[in-house]
Symmetry: C2
Subunit: 331 residues, 2 copies
């Protein structure tokens, strides 16, 4: 069934039907109602492809992340999807995994689907790397990057100030006398390096020297973390506090240290990052830095709609984090 059928039954032209469909003002109330009635009784649904072909948009946004099953990305995608919908957009989800070639491939697939924009969540693209590809995309549609920084025309970055958050908390720990702060992280994304820099700068600014044994890169796996901590302790190094780039790392560290006889937080306070559900579920519950993912994502969508409406939009917006106090560290 199409616009012609409706026009026939209603005794008007397809132009009029189209006008009704698009809420055009130039239709008499009587005609409009007649057309609407016919649509209703026939159960007509406009064809979005034909519409898209004319308007060159189907109001769809491509949302890319490495993996929605990760709690952080899941929350982000959830908020993004809801905000987009409130603005009349659908979200095409694309979980790319870590491989950079796959990412490019998937971006191209989304481009072929003629999405109106791309939102990259926690892109693992680092500055200076592979910008050519993003550049090509940004030349045709806006690209919003959440927790990633790329300086190119038509790209907009929404960042949580992870550098500052880590910096502040390391400084705080140092000032409370915890000078051997162990830092755990797992990936070298933009976000990852921001955090790591926060740690390093804080250590320096506290007048301490960076001990590379206290900076451990380790996968999100309990056994790997147990092993890493065993090795550390074997070297005779006992961390005075632990800070992790993600809650799960902090929790696994807590489990490992508890197993080795340390009491958390009495012996070793621990701080996680993301303030995820995991933080609430662990025992003792995990003090964690909240990266304000909800804010980040709604800001991203607002930014996007502003771009669409031709407003002057800043290239970079930074949102501060906040510490959520629970049992593993009380400031």
């Amino acid at each position: 069934m199409n616009i012609y059928d409706i026009a026939d039954k209603a005794g008007v032209s397809i132009a009029t039907v189209s006008r009704v469909l698009n809420n055009s003002t130039n239709v008499s109330q009587k005609t409009r109602q007649k057309v609407l009635d016919v649509m209703e009784t026939l159960g007509y649904t406009p064809n979005a492809f034909a519409r898209g072909l004319n308007l060159n948009t189907m109001k769809m946004i491509g949302v890319l992340c490495t993996d929605v099953s990760d709690v952080f990305y899941a929350k982000a995608v959830s908020v993004i999807e809801n905000s987009l919908r409130q603005h009349g957009f659908d979200a095409i989800l694309c979980c790319t995994g870590d491989n950079i070639e796959d990412k490019k491939k998937y971006m191209n697939l989304l481009l072929e689907k003629r999405v109106d924009a791309l939102i990259l969540v926690g892109s693992t693209f680092k500055e200076k790397l592979d910008n050519s590809h993003i550049e090509k995309i940004a030349s045709s549609i806006p690209v919003i990057i959440i927790n990633g920084l790329i300086t190119l025309p038509n790209t907009y970055c929404i960042l949580s100030d992870e550098f500052q958050a880590i910096y502040d908390n390391v400084v705080r720990l140092c000032h409370k006398g915890y000078e051997n702060v162990l830092y755990l992280y797992d990936v070298d994304t933009f976000s990852g390096s921001q955090k790591l820099n926060g740690y390093k700068n804080a250590i320096k600014d506290c007048g301490l020297t960076i001990n590379n044994d206290l900076i451990i890169k380790v996968p999100k796996d309990l056994n790997d973390i147990k092993e890493a901590l065993s090795n550390l302790l074997k070297k005779g190094i006992v961390p005075s506090a632990v800070l992790a780039s993600e809650d799960i790392l902090a929790i696994f560290a807590m489990k490992s240290l508890t197993e080795k006889g340390y009491t958390i937080p009495k012996d070793i306070p621990i701080i996680g990052f993301n303030n995820s559900l995991l933080a609430e579920c662990s025992t003792p519950s995990l003090t964690s830095i909240d990266n304000m993912v909800g804010n980040l994502c709604t800001t991203a969508v607002t930014t996007l709609t502003n771009v669409f409406s031709g407003e002057d939009v800043p290239h970079k917006i930074t949102i501060s984090c906040k510490l959520v106090e629970r049992d593993t560290f009380i400031p």
Copy 2:
């Protein structure tokens, strides 16, 4: 830029360009290469809307769930998206929330986008309720339902055998002497009632009587659960074991009971459901029933592709769960 531009530059007709685009065999190797070269140098991207208008498909599937930020749905959506992509489909994500009117609205939006099928994850629709709406949709596109049961033409249900899983574990607990098994749940979805029935039937089949005080419906909130358990204990009822419809409920119950001086699992063993990351993160780690969400979702996608290729597909596929043993209950 369109197919005409390519045809011009390559000195062929648009028909030939279209053939190259669609990998038709009736093109000489020489012509094909020439056209491909032109496409490459001009950076041509075919217009999916025009293509969709002709073929009446853009190879997109609507994926509905209440909320992707929930760990279970996140995992499900992740697997579904990946499987769909392997079959050349994109996933339009739609988080509906719990409101049934919203669900209907969103389903209609997806229909308007002319998706090729709908996958409902953990629908809260109950049998006999609101089938008319699904029926209408299923009359135009296939509807796959994960952990929900609706018997209608062109609907296909992929279920995890949650009834049996709960049943078996309650029976197991009873046989080990734990006769006052507390059952915690939070929602009355199809899935929810399957589990509850499993509990009730098991209690009966063990020759015990159902004690309604031991069946508690409570939100996924630590304080609510603390309060519910306090009330239970005040009545003088101490559960001999706890079974929960979701890991998070089990974990909060564990926290509450630990706080009240009980030792888990020595005093009270606990079993969760979903085998989520939370189970691994809690202390002690949570024994949990794995609902095989990965299997469920890949089966759903396979089922869908079979429907598309016109194969004879069963209306209902049930996949059994399995108990993953950790520290809170060792059978």
